[in-house]
């Protein structure tokens, strides 16, 4: 993740944890300005660069937890960062602040859709952005894959999961538990041999 940019030079000291109100406002602003997905990038800009509430090391650690647990990554990140900064009340206001702007807008969108959803022009608009969304999800997939898949077997697990769910219509929990158990067993900790699988997954930054 970490790029070889200037942020590794001379780390500034962290700022003191903010008040709950400031925490809420900061997450509300990040939740309201992070257009078009990729909220994690906005969170890093805010938490690490602008407010200096977390350093990069902590940020990456929290991101790893967020991504391996169910729940939306951005919401999970907000909860974990809020907890670090102000305990459980911090987790609560950070999560709320992150979700409120988008949730209010999408609720309003449902009412607007009820009024204009059958209009052929808005249908043409929505169908075209659905096609655009397929392009966007493909990009997310490629980037996620580049980060998470380190050996050939990983691609088999991906194909197996996707095939079971999208083509054979296996319910997601079964596919998740079945393929998940197989994949975890494949990567199981081995006794320290010439040490291939015993070490942590490759985290080297891309060249």
């Amino acid at each position: 993740m970490s790029k070889r940019t200037a942020n590794s030079a001379a780390p500034l000291p962290l700022a003191p944890p903010p008040s709950l109100w400031r925490l809420f406002v900061a997450f509300f602003i990040m939740g309201g300005t992070s257009l078009g997905g990729g909220v994690i990038a906005y969170l890093r800009t805010g938490l690490v660069m602008r407010y200096r509430w977390l350093d990069d090391e902590h940020f990456v650690e929290l991101m790893a937890i967020s991504q391996s647990l169910p729940g939306l990554n951005a919401t999970n990140m907000s909860i974990l960062a809020g907890d670090r900064l102000r305990g459980w009340p911090g987790a609560l206001v950070a999560g709320l602040g992150m979700c409120l702007p988008g949730a209010s807008l999408m609720t309003a969108a449902a009412f607007a859709y009820g009024i204009g959803g059958d209009d052929p022009a808005s249908k043409a608009f929505l169908r075209a952005i659905a096609a655009g969304a397929v392009g966007l999800i493909s990009v997310v997939l490629v980037q996620l894959g580049a980060k998470m898949l380190t050996e050939f077997a990983d691609y088999i697990f991906v194909a197996l999961t996707a095939g079971l769910v999208a083509f054979l219509h296996v319910p997601v929990p079964y596919a998740m538990i079945g393929v998940g158990a197989l994949a975890i067993w494949w990567h199981r900790p081995r006794k320290a041999g010439p040490g291939k699988a015993a070490e942590a997954p490759g985290k080297e930054p891309a060249p």
Partner: protein, 175 residues
């Protein structure tokens, strides 16, 4: 009342499937909201999903739209709480356990195993979405263009999404 319980049950369940991102829950989201409960049609679901890409914050806040369409503001509130609270509490708890898990020998295995499955689920979601959305050569070209633009540049993803909508409108009026 029964409807609120159903909304809460469905979205609480869906939230548990969102490992690696909201898209992982899309196949099951379609199955339950379109085919089982008939809360929305598939085109409506795709439209909300796409609009969700334009809204700020986590992209799956579009679940609020489904709740609002089914049962107005209370519906949206029930869906949001059901979708966010259980996994939020789980994350909160695991976050606090994390330091103790740090030396657990199985942790890298679990992380990598879940990682592959998560990518597979996002792929499955993408396939389900593409089946509905790419209904002709025009839409396929749009999707490919957005893909190429986003993979090669660092622009805000909302820009090509809005542009696709504009192109769709342009073709509708002038095509």
């Amino acid at each position: 009342m029964k409807q609120f319980a159903e909304l809460a049950g469905v979205f609480g369940y869906l939230s548990l499937l969102t490992v690696g991102g909201g898209m992982a829950a899309f196949p099951e989201l379609k199955q339950l909201t379109v085919e089982t409960y008939h809360w929305v049609t598939f085109p409506e679901l795709m439209h909300y999903y796409s609009l969700g890409q334009l809204a700020p914050g986590p992209n799956m806040m579009m679940v609020a739209s489904i709740g609002a369409q089914v049962a107005g503001l209370p519906g949206a509130a029930v869906v949001l709480v059901a979708f966010i609270l259980p996994t939020g509490l789980l994350t909160f708890g695991i976050g606090r356990l994390w330091n103790r898990l740090a030396n657990w020998p199985w942790r890298p295995a679990v992380q990598r195993g879940i990682g592959s499955v998560a990518v597979g689920l996002v792929l499955a979601g993408g396939i389900v979405l593409a089946r509905g959305a790419l209904s002709g050569p025009f839409y396929i070209v749009l999707a490919v263009l957005v893909f190429l633009l986003l993979i090669r540049t660092k622009i805000n993803p909302a820009i090509p999404i809005v542009l696709s909508g504009a192109i769709g409108l342009g073709v509708y009026f002038f095509g």
